[in-house]
Assembly symmetry: C2
Homo-oligomer: 418 residues x 2
């Protein structure tokens, strides 16, 4: 049996490194998008890293910034400083990209609003034969810009400033950028994607590798009005009591009790659930039973528990006894370990990744009733858990997790239903 956890697709065997270069005025959600790309591609197995030029500036040039004049392009001193900074962050990005083994996505998160700046970036990247894709966020919707602007007031540039003064200063900073802003055009001859007015319109040009396509496809799925998700394991099953893994046993009385409590709890929350998903195994379907009265319930095979292959139906104790080698290998690398003729955590991520994209896109409220390993992979994605730690996340029976969109991440709250 071949372990191929790093395999994502048929295509692009030779293009497994990509630099994503953000373009756009301040407060256009560039960091929001960058962060989502980093999170998703990390989760599906890339080495993904963001390089935010603003953060570097705030860290290394603390004293150079006083107010918006820093961003005035007529100010030669600060202009040179900013140029130099951008290039040195790019150098760091290039170094990281070349020195990181495997498939990498490096995101250069800065305004990059002039052709001259972009040309400088492209020249450097092409010298190193690194593939790149420009992602330009164009937004003229006043309400979105205002919302993003409020977020800006929380960063270090403004945290000790009077709010009104800060807003005024930020608006002036915006004007400096607007004066010199040049949108990407065909003459630049680069691969690009433009996101226009938050996710309804896109211009996509020269997508010549599979990885660029994957990034564009992901970005098309991002929704700024994210949905709200409830996630839980099934109620206690007979196999849970017997401490065996896999199988397809029914719920215990205790487990059926959870099913009722789960329904009552969600009903009392006042959240209107749009759809309930379960796996195709008895224990999740039984758990969803009370929901049938009121909600649409869908059984999805892709939500089935990790396939334990030859260990299906055994307890961990038995596995250790009969297949000590399996126990050992699993302990050494729980993320990549694939049960013989079964699955690994990586395999689960591969099987649910399109489902995650649907969740990214929806603004519905969704309840998912699934199993330990699948629940960990779902939660791990939304709370941005370190990949190696996902197989160890604490997801006890009869605990309901609620995921609520919160800035660039999801806030998770858990309640043990007793």
């Amino acid at each position: 049996m071949i372990n191929e956890p790093e395999y994502v697709s048929i295509m692009d065997k030779d293009h497994n490194k990509l630099v994503v270069i953000m373009v756009g005025l301040p407060a256009r959600g560039k960091s929001y998008i960058s962060n989502k790309i980093r999170r998703y591609f990390t989760w599906i197995g890339y080495n993904a890293k963001m390089f935010n030029v603003g953060n570097y500036r705030r860290k290394f040039f603390k004293n150079s910034f006083n107010d918006h004049k820093f961003f005035d392009s007529r100010n030669e001193d600060t202009r040179n400083l900013r140029e130099k900074l951008a290039i040195s962050v790019l150098d760091e990005l290039i170094e990281w990209t070349l020195n990181t083994s495997g498939r990498t996505i490096s995101i250069f998160d800065a305004t990059n609003t002039t052709k001259l700046r972009r040309k400088a970036l492209v020249d450097k990247l092409e010298k190193k034969c690194i593939n790149y894709l420009f992602l330009e966020s164009i937004c003229k919707k006043k309400d979105v810009i205002e919302k993003n602007l409020q977020m800006k007031l929380q960063n270090d540039d403004y945290k000790n400033m009077d709010v009104e003064k800060a807003i005024d200063d930020f608006r002036k900073r915006l004007q400096h950028y607007e004066k010199i802003y040049e949108t990407i055009d065909e003459e630049e001859c680069v691969s690009y994607m433009k996101i226009i007015d938050v996710q309804r319109s896109f211009n996509i040009s020269k997508i010549d590798t599979h990885l660029k396509f994957e990034v564009c496809n992901f970005v098309m799925n991002i929704n700024i009005n994210s949905g709200k998700f409830y996630v839980s394991r099934h109620g206690q099953s007979v196999d849970n009591v017997n401490k065996t893994i896999g199988g397809n046993s029914r719920l215990t009385v205790n487990g059926r009790g959870y099913s009722t409590k789960l329904f009552t709890h969600i009903h009392n929350c006042g959240d209107d659930i749009d759809v309930v998903f379960t796996s195709t195994l008895k224990r999740t379907i039984e758990t969803s039973k009370p929901f049938l009265k009121k909600y649409k319930v869908i059984n999805k095979k892709l939500l089935d528990e990790i396939d334990a292959g030859i260990c299906d139906g055994m307890s961990y104790k038995e596995i250790k006894l009969i297949y000590p080698e399996i126990s050992k290998k699993r302990e050494e690398d729980k993320l990549n370990f694939r049960y013989p003729y079964g699955e690994s955590y990586r395999d689960i991520i591969d099987r649910i990744k399109h489902f995650i994209l649907e969740l990214e896109r929806t603004d519905d409220t969704v309840l998912i009733i699934t199993h330990t390993a699948v629940l960990r992979c779902i939660l791990g994605y939304f709370v941005d858990e370190k990949l190696e730690d996902i197989p160890y996340m604490d997801v006890p029976l009869h605990k309901l997790f609620k995921l609520t969109p919160d800035k660039n991440k999801y806030k998770v709250t858990g309640v043990q239903l007793k």
Copy 2:
């Protein structure tokens, strides 16, 4: 257990009818794209139908067309005729859309190259509250246009004409269209996707429903340089001999013999295989063994056989005896029948559809070693088999199928390896 074979996604519960309106000069691949959309969406469970205005014209106005002058917009008579024809085909499309239950995609395949024409279509559709999406194919690549032009010579307009004369006439027809061609612009305020120079660049605007998104996503995956695919079941397994379904048995001596023959056959074909896919079950992995020496072999759970649920490990005879109800239901509707705690053919399509998109996108040569039901779903898609007939396709053991792109379809050839 809930049967939900028609379920595709979380979103768009209320937008399950869409009209796709093609736009573009002749010989820009509009029918090619239309056909692919029809085929894919039919396969995933939509009622999808193409309405090609050219075919209607050739059928009903046989005698009006003599040469390119028919398409000259200064020719008032034929212009009126063409207007009338387009509208009456649209009427037929609307009628079909409204009278077809369930989720529908209707494709209006015509040039629709003027704002006036598009306005007329939109007015009619909006009156009936039908959602629509424009798909404009823009292509300036001479080689592609020339290739498409050659295809045109095979249609009824030119089949009795001298080749050179036909080409000359078609070029003149093109010029008539070019004179009046107006590309879609923002002022028209419609949802659209522009496909620019065959699949590398796209403009996508106002995609406000999930179904429009799905169509755009599919179109982005279309590749005119399609890959070549070999597909086969595993070699004979112990369970095959015992006539039981499901399970995870190994190959028989006979089965291992097929594995060697398969390798030799493909090796001798001279086709350079880029990647071999198997399921995660022993019988396909064993079949792929000889390929390990030379090729990249990937085991994919999504290629596993249909999950027979409570019938796993039984013979059809036993099922009929123990679960006569299951046997009966399965016979009545093999496509939708889901084994209790298992899967239906529809479920398989749902599980492999993203894999099919990857195959659509690749130009690689791929060998897939899988199982009866999955093989039928894959073949069924590529050869455009009627959905209800897919579960009955003849896919004997030890037969290798080869799929080669051929115009709008795939040509399938099968060879029994003895």
